[in-house]
């Protein structure tokens, strides 16, 4: 009954690949930061689902730490873009 989780991870990976289009051709640095933020969120979601599929709790711990570290990096990039650093 683990069947619906595999297509969900596949669709999430395809969506991450679509985000890289905006990451490459975004006209301003702000667009690229928004694209990276979206990639981080989708990566956390797919890591949680992969942790369920492989029955490994360590994947979900990695997802929690990844979410917090990407939050810190987003805050620092925003500080740099706003010229306050």
């Amino acid at each position: 009954m683990i069947d619906p989780f595999y297509p969900a991870v596949l669709v999430l990976v395809i969506l991450i690949c679509l985000c890289f289009i905006r990451l490459i051709l975004g006209p301003t640095p702000g667009d690229r930061v928004v694209a990276v933020d979206t990639v981080n969120t989708l990566t956390v979601a797919s890591l949680v689902i992969l942790g369920l599929i492989y029955r490994e709790v360590i994947f979900i711990d990695v997802a929690i730490v990844y979410a917090l570290l990407s939050f810190v990096s987003t805050l620092y990039i925003a500080k740099y873009l706003g010229g306050e650093l």
Partner: protein, 118 residues
Amino acid sequence: MIAELLIIICLAIGIIFNSLGVIGLLRFPDLYTRMHATTKATTFGSVFTTLAVIVYSISLYLSTIDSQFIVLGVHAFIAAFALAFTNAIGSHAIARAAHRSGIMPSPAVVDRLKEAGR
């Protein structure tokens, strides 16, 4: 079985909202509307995919009494909690930085926020 139906509905809602967010990221004209699409839709969708994981782990725990699955569900809940809070605060910081670095919405004429002295 009601757990399978609930899992499939939650996964469908999550995938549809994530897809809408990414389509908005690709198609909207400027930074603020792209951020409007991605932040809200992607946070909602990721919370719903994590909710499907929580429901599945609870149903596994009820069928096979194994405390590994309740640990998995609690950690998935913490992941969803962290994701919701950090996404909102981070997008606020990006919007503030973009306004400070002089990026305007595409048909903008006046800037009341800059006139107010912030």
